[in-house]
Amino acid sequence: MRPFFRLTTVRIVSQLVFLGLFVFGVWATWTTRMQGYPVSRFLEIDPLVALSTLLSTGHIYRYLGWSILLLLLTLLFGRLFCNWICPLGTLHQCAGWLFNVRSGKERQEQNRYRPRQVIKYVTLIIVLIISAFGSVQIGLLDPLALLHRSMVTGLSTGWDWLLGTTSLTQLQLAPGTAERIYTGSLWIGVLFVVIVVINIWYTRFFCRTLCPLGALLGLVAPFSLFRIHRDTDLCTNCDLCLTRCEGACSPETTLRVTECVGCMNCIDDCPENALSFSLPRIVSAPARPTPDLSRRHLVFAGIIGLITFPLLRANGRVNDANYSPLMIRPPGSMAEAEFLKKCIKCGQCMRVCPTNVVQPAGLREGGIEALWTPVLNFNIGHCQQKCSLCSTVCPTGAIREISVTEKLGFGEYRQDGPIRLGTAFINRSRCLPWANEIPCIVCQEVCPIAPKAIQTYDEEVKDTFGHLVLLNKPFIIPDLCTGCGICQKECPVTDQPAAYVTAVGESRSQERRLLLRYRTNPEES
């Protein structure tokens, strides 16, 4: 008997739908494809994102409140999210199933509960404690952020490159995306590949052992209305229910509600029809409503959490004295400390950026604490003047939603002035006119500010070959410069550009200001 309308098939459909929607979200996060689709919604319904940013900032940004839907789902049906919705869970399950060549007995042993599954609760406690201190690190392991980041830096670059090189007409689906790069994407990819490949050795290692979102939902799941019930009268203790158990939640003995991901496979696998997913029953084996967290675990997690924050902060890239000149944040970003309270490293801003300038930060920009948060690398691209897409897609408000008018400081934002990402400088020892008596004024030409923030000293000189040449030697007017970086991008001294932008003067932080007052706009304060 293989009827279609049963929970396991519907589950698979659901998984495919949500995986499809997730991939579609990544696909559609691009200027020409957005067309109003809710591209960040997956990240916004993640209750772990809402909880940790609530702990760090005390507030709930924009659409994050919708994560209540997931909590509601969990309160009704347990950790269904993990096996019905979570696209990373789908990938894990798929990898674990596809490459599983074990015999039936081996598989049952695989899926027995292991004490190490408690690690995820420890992880959760640690990341929440750090969040409460003001450093949101859930993004490293949160399945949605992790998968999203990996897709952005890996998969999406791949498909866009493929489309770009193979499309036969010039009318591409993704003009401008064909040659995208993400610095340090290798390590993002390695983390992703490792957690997927690990399924061959141990099925759903990530979900059972590491996932902090699973842990959070697991703590809520015991209050759910529905759960798997085992009719002890019918059960013959054959252990067949373990064969394809995804959560390793002991359906054969005392069901661990915190571990059960609602795959419903045990129901299908029971020859005695002893298992069901239902409201509380009279004849039913007892369930275990709490995780195996002992006081030792709690104390241990607490201590780790308490010492991790100072360890991260003392690393010393967040304060205003030792910040990296490369730590240039996208327009609309919060001041650095606030930023780290919100950024979940999902890579949505990197994906949507039309010029590829938004890059995952490596260790040199912000240390471990800011790893994979967005920074602007003006060697790769520049921040387009009339674009604020990164701010509109950011799920947590680390990049606050701004309009182009606000970004450029026009109209009602005249008093705030433009949003300054940093300040451009000219390295006179590498600049062709300054250092080599060769005319070149690309930086001034491309400067989009009116009047131009790069002006020139015009001078006639005889060069070393005796030719009379007119040199326009550029200099920056910091009052006008918004740090968009197009001068750095277009500088012909490409490896270490003579025109370059550093973070000082960024308007998101008073402490990192450069000028006492802006001579061009006395209103600006």
Partner: protein, 366 residues
């Protein structure tokens, strides 16, 4: 030989999905359908979100651009032309601002940049004296120091823009003393001092002073005065009184303007004075009032106040002749339409009437 060189191993799971249970409840079927419907709803919702939003159209409105249009004006540095090394010490690069280029030369080089002062900070340059200039409509002071090639002599030039001819003549009149020999050279009116000169041209008033008295400084001062002829002419036409007195063949040097406190009366303002040749101390004056009525009012007030020091010799409807009680000089004042005019400090009655008639004639010609 038939065997594959690699041992055969399964890559993918060999099992098909199968189910062991024998019963599926109706609830399950119904809820499965419901879930499928919910999934379809989710997909529909996502699809329905599609609109024609194209982020590429984000832009700043033209109105916002126009609001700040042209608000920032940058100084455009002049091109630095090629020069053979050793031909200069670089003084040519100094921007002389409002000063004519001929001010600087190989012999007399600018020692510093041109400094400018406006009414707010004039006191920084000439503390104590600033009030005088401000009273006469001061707008800007440009200050430049020239140094001789041998670096011994220095000349400082103060060039005041008084904003109007009235202002520059007024401040010039305050500087000249009866002894100063005022000369007229083209548009320049000036007199020399032992270390330089003082003069005016159009709306400008200038003071040139060397650091010592020497032939070369005197020469340079003369040359500076000449070069000031190149200063821009006033934008407005010459004021009425100034024109009128010039038509009476009064030297520019002898024309002065008094903005306030004329005849020491706080109600009398904006009078032009001119000294006629061969009339000794006598000075003609003219004033244009807003209307004939206000002119008559002003006349009445002056006559009223003058009675304390003068005795009335003759008085008609539009003419009054006074004689000072002690100095015995004459003061005549007349009214014609909105003009008040007359002569002060004349030696006798005849001269008074003669001067008055001169102005009267010139006025009626206008």
């Amino acid at each position: 030989m038939k065997q594959s060189p690699l041992p055969h191993a399964r890559l993918f799971t060999p099992r098909r999905r199968r189910i062991n249970r024998t019963h599926i409840s109706g609830y399950e079927v119904v809820s499965s359908v419901l879930v499928l419907l919910a999934l379809a709803a989710v997909i529909l919702w996502v699809v329905s979100r599609k609109n024609h939003f194209d982020p590429a159209h984000q832009d700043v409105s033209l109105e916002a651009l126009e609001q700040v249009s042209g608000s920032t004006v940058l100084y455009q540095r002049p091109l630095k032309p090629w020069q053979l090394p050793g031909t200069t010490d670089g003084w040519q690069d100094i921007d002389l601002g409002i000063f004519p280029d001929s001010v600087a030369s190989e012999q007399w080089r600018p020692k510093t940049r041109v400094k400018t002062f406006d009414p707010e900070n004039l006191y920084v340059k000439i503390n104590g004296e600033a009030e005088r200039f401000l009273r006469h409509g001061f707008t800007q002071l440009s200050y430049l120091v020239l140094q001789s090639a041998n670096q011994i002599e220095e000349i400082s030039i103060e060039l005041y823009n008084q904003g109007s001819i009235a202002g520059s003549t007024g401040i010039f009149a305050e500087h000249r003393s009866p002894e100063s020999e005022v000369q007229q050279e083209g548009p320049n009116t000036f007199f020399t001092t032992s270390i330089g000169g003082i003069g005016r041209k159009g709306t400008f008033f200038y003071r040139i002073s060397g650091n010592r008295s020497s032939e070369s400084i005197a020469q340079k001062s003369r040359q500076l005065v000449q070069s000031f002829a190149e200063l821009p002419d006033p934008e407005n036409t010459e004021p009425f009184g100034y024109q009128l007195l010039q038509e009476l063949t009064i030297e520019q040097a002898d024309i002065r303007h008094q903005a306030v406190n004329v005849f020491q009366y706080d109600f009398a303002e904006d009078f032009w004075f001119g000294k006629s040749d061969g009339a000794g101390q006598a000075e003609m004056f003219v004033h244009q009032a807003q209307s004939p009525e206000s002119a008559a009012e002003l006349l009445a007030e002056i006559v009223e106040e003058h009675r304390y020091e003068y005795q009335t010799i003759r008085q008609t409807e539009n003419l009054v002749l006074f004689q000072h009680r002690f100095l015995k000089s004459y003061f005549i004042i007349a009214i014609q339409d909105s003009f008040l005019f007359g002569a002060d400090k004349t030696a006798d009655e005849a001269t008074s009437f003669q001067l008055l008639e001169m102005i009267g004639r010139a006025l009626s010609k206008k």
